[in-house]
Amino acid sequence: MLKKAMKTNEFFVLIALIILCIIIGIANPVFFTTGNAVSLMKNSIVMGIMTFALMPGIVAGGIDVSFPAIAVCGMFTTSKIMQNIDYSGPVILPILMSIGIGTVLGLLNGLIITKFSLPAFIVTLGTSSLYYGLLVTLVGSKPVNRLCKPMEDFGKAVMISGNSGSVTTSCTWTFLFLLAVAIIVYLMLKYTMLGRGIYAIGGNRTSAERAGFNVNGILIFVYTFIGACAGLAGICHTMQARICMPTDLMGSEMLCIAAVVLGGTNIAGGKGTVIGTTLGLILITVARSSLTLVGVDSSWQQMIVGIVIVGGTALSAYKELRNSRKIAKILED
């Protein structure tokens, strides 16, 4: 059992993660405080929701890069409207609204990609620009400085807090959304026909069609799901930040894709697990948040994160390359 576990991709990511943590911990003991743990939790929420949503897409063999734009559309439109009407009802309504906007935009992606059989990456690059341009043209680019009360209250409410030295860090209830998305994706992929269909499409699209899977339907679902989760991630980001800037989140697609790939998901599709993605997410979050802890100058952080991403991707890609060269055995021993 242990031997089998050691062969998996997750095992390597876990080892890398442990080594990274030990190095950072030695460089700066603050890393091992409850305060830092809570801060890591907090920092993983928005990126995590998008990462878990993206994973099934990549397993099905398609990459969506429009989710940051969708997240901004969801959060900015919602925040603006809620501020304008001075909303005071339950917080769930703005959250659902943002998810709804994301769902519609994701659905549109899915329809364009499947109806015209176009490459997902290029389509979503286009729609990303299209959505974002339209949003700012219609809604404006002025940040929402004061959120409506329910959203602000939700963003202030503390779920858990921890100390590092004299500083107290706290994490909001939005963390539960991250957990929920992770669990939903896990159950969906493992125990539903839809989830197995996603793996089937990633493994061999033609076979999936022949086996009677509704391939286009499944793909439309996948992109819609990404859109919905992006909407959720966006509103979570706004509530945590307690301000809504339309320039936030843009450009975060690389980090999310990297977390998925580092977690052992095959970029060509067919392979990927929630456990692996979780590890990939933690790895990226730790690497990003801890650079300041170990004393890296802020102007070099982007490059170091870039190197970590490329390095990690290179390892898993190289492993995949070697695996693909492995051939079915003919000769008996």
Partner: protein, 342 residues
């Protein structure tokens, strides 16, 4: 000997390609609309000069992206490479112009920019060909590294202080009329048209892009072709970087972040097939002109920048959808014709 025939044949090849004809009309229509909408402001020497000065940056970067797309890949790091080359070039010139003289500093600076571009391209090519990272992921990642390195060495600020002579490459007008950047663009177009259409490398590029397995079975060294293509892409990005730095007489890590999308639009509008193997530089040239006409026209009309973002996205998606329908139409017509014959 058959040079004239060659040119005639080339022109014939272009006109025979339905998509190229279509693109030509789109370009003319864009031009006419902008002329009508803006009147003399658009149809004027000064506007033509300003357009001719501006579009080569995107045009050269788009050629770099197109090369990668002909392989069935993509290159999202061109802007990062351009800025990084520009930064190293400017920093070198500023640091050494007093010691070794201005022109030697500029010339060595330019050489450094090209080397930086080539090395960045080499890294891309290595990651794609030998490590096996899909081009999109590899170049998305190296884009972070290149921009990050640029931010690191400049602390995020713009690099100023290059001598005014440096502006020659991006800002000067030859004979007082033709922008230097346009001349560089023409040279790049000619060189790469020959490279792609008439050299062994070009044919190997198209073949690897069409079917890498068959290419390997034909004795083509796919890895080497990929490596070369990305080195060329890096050098082209560096040339664009020099034009940008020279044009603004400064360099900055975050310059031109919208160019990646613009390059992709140009490449796809120009008929470069994202699946690889098909497309011509001629198409890219027409596409970059079309986009420039629109962009200048919008500028004169004072169209909001965010609305332009929307328009570019719509153009990219719309063009692909249009091609889907036109291809389908052509297929149906072929079918009907075959039926008639039967």
């Amino acid at each position: 000997m058959s040079n004239e025939k060659g040119i005639v044949k080339y022109l014939k090849d272009i006109t025979e390609d339905a998509r190229m004809v279509r693109l030509f009309f789109i370009m003319v229509i864009a031009f006419v609309i902008m002329c009508v909408a803006n009147g003399n402001k658009f149809f004027s020497l000064s506007n033509f000069q300003s357009m001719a000065r501006t579009f080569p940056e995107v045009g050269i970067l788009a050629i770099a992206v197109s090369l990668a797309m002909l392989l069935g890949g993509i290159n999202l790091s061109v802007v990062g490479i351009a800025n990084l080359s520009g930064i190293f070039c400017c920093q070198f010139i500023i640091a050494t112009q007093e010691k070794i003289g201005m022109w030697p500093a500029i010339i060595i600076g330019l050489a450094i920019a090209m080397v930086v571009g080539a090395v960045c391209g080499l890294l891309n090519g290595f990651l794609i060909a030998y490590v096996g990272i899909p081009a999109m992921l590899a170049t998305l990642g190296t884009q972070e590294i290149f921009i990050g390195l640029g931010v690191g060495v400049t602390k995020g600020a713009a690099v100023f202080g290059t001598p005014s002579e440096f502006t020659f490459f991006g800002g000067a007008y030859i004979f007082g009329v033709i922008p230097m950047s346009l001349i560089l663009f023409v040279v790049v177009v000619v060189v790469f048209t020959i490279l792609l259409q008439r050299k062994q490398y070009g044919m190997e590029l198209y073949l690897v892009g069409t079917n890498p397995t068959a290419a390997r079975f034909s004795g083509i060294k796919n890895e080497l072709v990929i490596l070369k293509t990305h080195v060329f892409g890096g050098i082209l990005s560096a040339i664009a970087g020099i034009i940008i730095a020279s044009g603004t007489n400064s360099a900055k890590a975050s310059y031109g972040s919208s160019y990646v999308l613009r390059c992709l639009i140009v490449a796809i509008l120009g008929g470069i097939n994202p699946a690889g193997g098909f497309g011509k530089i001629t198409g890219v040239v027409m596409a970059v002109l079309t986009i420039q006409f629109l962009s200048s026209g919008f500028g004169i009309l004072r169209v909001d920048g965010y609305f332009q973002t929307f328009v570019w996205g719509a153009v990219l998606v719309g063009d692909m959808i249009l091609n889907y329908y036109l291809d389908k139409l052509a297929e149906n017509r072929k079918k009907k014709k075959a039926e008639k014959e039967a």
